[in-house]
């Protein structure tokens, strides 16, 4: 009984935190493998702000003739340190891999609300897609995993969105290079 109450309380806390940071869609925040809390979101078309990632997302044209989805994340409950960031994007329908990306990030001191936010949105590469992998109108799951530089897990989260090509001049080009 006490266990159930604990789970319910934890769930409520997570939901509250999620509402606070505006994570959305397919579960922008999950109980992390470490003590830290990670919330995944997106940004406005111009890369600014922090908005929910879920529902529908429009592919953003990149300068080198490709398309991306903005990703932004927030971290709570960890001391400032340099961490490894592993990102994966998969097509939900068949788990086909769309992107694998590894990097590092210096996580800074949290703001007054206890969360540290990635200063600039990441253009998560989508198109040109791998051969045979269409992403247009497909549900895509975006996963972000943080770990220490010694590979100890810190936090992991994911969010889903159905991605679409932009309207207008870019529509045909997008359809060409995002359809695999």
């Amino acid at each position: 009984m006490r266990t159930l109450a604990f789970i319910a309380a934890t769930g409520a806390l997570i939901a509250a935190a999620c509402a606070l940071v505006g994570c959305g869609g397919g579960g922008g925040m999950q109980p992390p493998p470490g003590d830290a809390m990670l919330a995944l979101g997106s940004a406005a078309q111009d890369g600014s702000g922090f908005v929910a990632l879920g529902g529908d997302a429009t592919l953003v044209p990149g300068a080198q003739g490709g398309f991306h989805i903005w990703l932004k994340y927030r971290v709570e409950g960890m001391a400032p340190e340099k961490v490894k960031v592993h990102r994966e994007s998969h097509r939900v329908s068949d788990d086909a891999l769309v992107l694998l990306a590894d990097g590092t990030q210096e996580v800074g001191a949290p703001a007054a609300d206890g969360w540290w936010e990635l200063p600039a949105a990441l253009p998560s590469f989508m198109c040109p897609t791998p051969i045979g992998i269409n992403v247009i109108d497909e549900r895509i799951v975006f996963e972000v995993t943080l770990s220490t530089m010694d590979d100890a897990p810190l936090a992991k989260t994911s969010a889903e969105a159905t991605v679409h090509c932009p309207d207008g001049d870019q529509a045909a080009f997008c359809a060409k290079i995002c359809s695999g």
Partner: protein, 568 residues
Amino acid sequence: MRTLTSLALLGLALSYTSDAAACGCFTPPDPSVPIVQAGELIAFAQQDGQVTAHIQIKYQGSASDFGWLLPLPSVPTLELGTDELFSALTTNTQPKYKVNRVYEGNCSFDPSRGGFGLGGTPSAGNSGGGGSGGSGDQAPGSPLVYQDSVGPYDYAVLKADTKDPMLQWLADNRYFVPAGTDDAIGPYIHPGSYFLALKLKKGNDVGDLQPVVVKYASDLPMIPLVLTSVAANPHMGIQVWMLGAGRAIPRNYYHTVINDAKLDWLNGSQNYNDVIIAATAEAPDKHSFVTEYAGAVTPMKNVLNAPGRFGVQSELAATQSDVEFVGYMTSHQFPFTSQTIAVLQKYIPVPPLLQQQNGIQPPQFYQNLSYWLGSYKQQNPGQFVGWTENFQPAQMAQELQDRVVTPTLAAGAMFDAFPYLTRLYTTLSPEDMNKDPVFSFNPGLKDWPNVHNGELTYHCGFFGDKGQALTAATLRTEAGWVIDFPNGTGNTTGFQQPAGPSSQRIEILRETGNPDVVTDNTSSIGHALGEGGCGVALGGRASRQYVGFAGFLVVAALMLLGRRRRAG
């Protein structure tokens, strides 16, 4: 307006042959190395969401018409690169096709023998034979983010939100833009996009062109080939090196494993590039890369940044004479690349009469400076009439530091920072440059050596041979294909390429897992080789001469046995 052949878009590739284009190839020619002149050479390193691209700019035309445009996803940083990176990468990861020769029977031409003799043990031989301060432009509506100069270049970073203001700014500021750019540039124009534009500074010539290093934020490196198509040549070679944690893959292009029976093994695989052109053309849309090397960075370790290389700048600056200066450079392994020569020529020009009358080129002049300015000058003073130099060792040492030493050491440091190197190659014609290739990694894929070994067996027989050229031989390629030369290998200059496809496999390489084979031509290659009567697939064929010799031994043994029985 002058001819419009002058823009290099992302190093696009008009075959550039400058007098000053010292290739850095100091090793003697290797007959097992096919000669391939790639039009575009790029070395990418990818780490932490940042792409570093070393780009060799190739250009043929007048300096005033030189221009270069590169679309980028973020405001880049620009540094000078070095030609030596590309010459070293080219040399040290070059595909090589070696033929190991095996001598069966009594081959008079077997190099392991002292002379003619009996014995059938096969033996093998190897026939393989600094920039100025930058400035921004705050004019309202101007696309200029900033402009600066580095080495021989003036450059500008421009916002590419919309096309017309950017092209207008380039025209107003004398950055050359070729015809056709308007159409090709469309996919690269977006809010938040940038273009890097280069031109040669006044007083610099085409021989001063130097590779550039561009760093920008991106998950994956990409080559803007659609834009390159504006001024590309048919079957333009595109050579890519990728540094990273594991083997690199073409993410949205196919991957081809060539049919090595198509190579002219006996002539150093000189038709290598033709085989690549044919093999990649068999892939859908002709979009495919070949892996030429994948493995540890070992071949490039300490090549550019060997300990002690370049000495100490202050020591070079303290030298007292031109000969001592260049002597210091030579003893500290300065490369006599076009960058080095550009600096030397500014202060110690090659005497015009020496160049005109004797055809002495700058690399020859500087590498033997003590001779030309010593005994030769004493004996031929007429060739030095009117010649003056402006020996400024401190200034020269600083320019060499900026244009040669720092870029070379920085390029060398990449091979300390990354463990793995992949070399990819393809050829594309302008009409097929309709998709920009993107590169990624799959650390689980196996290494791919650049050295390939075939085996050529001469079937000399028991009674000797007809000489090396006329002795029947069998070539087994590395992939295991067997090609017979029943009349010998003497006429190897007229290589008859076997029928069949040029690709053995066309695959899709993904970031994880093994290759997905989409086309496997193994059986059709075997069929083609068999049908052609020149070979058999994956197995080999006993030489008729060798069978004859074996038969002779059996008959001789039976006769001997019969005699003994009768005698008994």
